[in-house]
């Protein structure tokens, strides 16, 4: 087990290196001189030269990359051009908001995906199953940001159930903070709910056909015990992988949801940094998002072993 975990962690390193390489060169392809962005278009050539030297922009690109990757390895993502603060500080300040949003969205999506997914598998090829399938396709077809706007319009403005715009951290006032997060997490989680529900349905369908399930039934176990205790555990493995992959969608979706609901998370910070061409922040945020995604998938792979111990031996 430990060997497997170490192997998976080591596997991340080359991918992370290529990701960092891609981000670095992507950001350096942005037209315009960062020194001019800092000083303004009217800056004198002497001042531009000094800033370029300070930022290390006068060095060859590969030297800049080696220096940058070395610093990133030490947790130094550079400084924001505008706030002058270390990028990592800004990221760590905003990331909890994104983490809470995506985690709540994931919990919400699992809560609404699992029961109908299992139910549809048990009632395979019936009208209930077809209705379920249509609803899940509809779920993946609705744009999350539009759903967010509609939810704001109906639940906040019309019914007054939830606050419209604003944010209170849940770690400061849990219940008030939670009220602010309900609509964003629900609208963000709907897409994932639909995908997970479909996955659990098809995994359950495969498992329910296996002999050990027939055997459990033959032993006289109740149907829900067969499904809940015997079938679900084996069906959950592939679903877990889907959850890991979908978490990436949640991180991407958070960028838009945070913009719609004005949440001060990492996604909104990234978008604002793109507007203001704050390159170190753009670079740092995208790298941090990719790293988070990889770590989540690593955790999912390790959890997978719990549901299917054969993985370790393969």
């Amino acid at each position: 087990m430990v060997r497997y975990i170490i192997k998976r962690i080591l596997y991340i390193i080359p991918t992370l290196f290529i990701v960092a390489f891609l981000i670095f060169f992507l950001v350096h392809l942005i037209p315009g001189d960062p020194a001019l962005v800092i000083l303004g278009e009217d800056a004198s050539p002497e001042n531009v030269k000094v800033v370029r030297e300070t930022l290390g922009l006068d060095k060859p690109l590969y030297t800049q990359f080696v220096l940058w990757i070395g610093k990133v390895g030490m947790g130094d993502f550079g400084r924001s051009i505008f706030t002058k603060r270390p990028v990592i500080d800004d990221i760590l300040e905003r990331f909890p908001v994104t983490l809470v949003l995506t985690t709540l969205a994931m919990i919400f999506s699992l809560l609404i995906a699992l029961p109908p997914g299992i139910y549809a598998a048990v009632h395979h090829n019936t009208r209930k199953d077809y209705t379920f399938m249509f609803c899940t396709i509809l779920g993946v077809s609705i744009p999350g940001f539009w759903l967010g706007l509609m939810a704001l319009l109906f639940f906040s403005v019309k019914l007054g159930w939830f606050p419209t715009i604003g944010f209170v951290p849940m770690w400061e006032d849990f219940f008030v903070g939670f009220r602010y997060m309900v609509l964003p997490s629900m609208t963000l989680g709907l897409f994932m709910a639909a995908v997970v529900a479909r996955m659990i349905r098809s995994s359950m369908l495969e498992v329910l056909r296996l002999e050990y399930v027939t055997h459990a039934r033959a032993k006289g176990l109740g149907e829900w015990k067969v499904i809940g205790k015997h079938a679900l555990k084996n069906a959950f493995g592939p679903t877990l992988t889907t959850i890991g992959i979908q978490y990436g969608m949640l991180l991407g979706g958070a960028v838009i949801t945070e913009t719609v609901f004005s949440l001060p998370g990492l996604g909104k910070y990234l978008v604002l940094s793109i507007y203001s061409r704050d390159y170190p922040v753009v670079q740092g945020c995208i790298l941090f998002f990719a790293l988070t995604y990889m770590v989540i998938n690593l955790v999912v792979d390790i959890l997978y072993v719990y549901f299917d111990p054969r993985i370790v031996y393969e």
Partner: protein
Amino acid sequence: MMTWQRLVAHKTGMLGLVIILLNVSVAFTAPWVATHDPLGMDILNRDAPPSMDHIFGTDDYGRDIFSRVVYGTRISLYISLLSVLVAMVCGIGIGAFSGYYRGWADTVIMRFMDALMSFPAILLAIGIMAVRGGHINNVVIALGVVYTPRFARIVRGSFLSLKEKEFVEAAVAGGNGDLVIIFRHILPNCMAPIIVQATVSLAYAILAEAALSFLGLGAPPPAPSWGNILSDARNFMLDAPWMTIFPGIAITFSVLGFNLLGDALRDVLDPRLK
């Protein structure tokens, strides 16, 4: 039963196809379907609710929302079709090369593809748009890059298993060149998953394009893309909700069509997944 007959018998798949055909027809006949100029401003009719003259109402510049939504179909379909085509061509090329020749090039290329897939899709597109700037063709490139690894992986996987089949051995023994074996013998046999992936990617591309435009990183204003219309409408949501409602329905309707067809194709072409 033939594939086409099975598809015709698939009710939701046919519903999807009808929706897609409807969208395509609207895109082609936009100048005749639209009741007003999508960019034409009517200051006296700003924020007007739906009426006989403006069936979806007007926006803050007095532009007719219905006409903008109709023209938005063109932009949306243009970007999604072209980006998926770019992804398909690049993905098939990369996947076929990797799967057929294997070796160190395969390892390097697939690590590169893995790295591209390590980004949440929309984030990678946002990153590319930040570099290239807001333009319709840049959205095509960004989404094309984002979806290329998915096609590459599918094609490589199919090539790995098909290369070991006897018909390929026979083609090699027959003295055929690599290109003939790849394009005439192996590729036609892995079209089913490619078609399914293409249809599903079209749905995602429409959503991604709308999201990028909504963030101000897609088609530049005043182009009437659905994301742009929603982005404009956001500030007037309370007083003029019609500005938000109709473009969103158009996006959902269009994406639903591709998703329904994609699902049906999956059932028809690969019944094991049903």
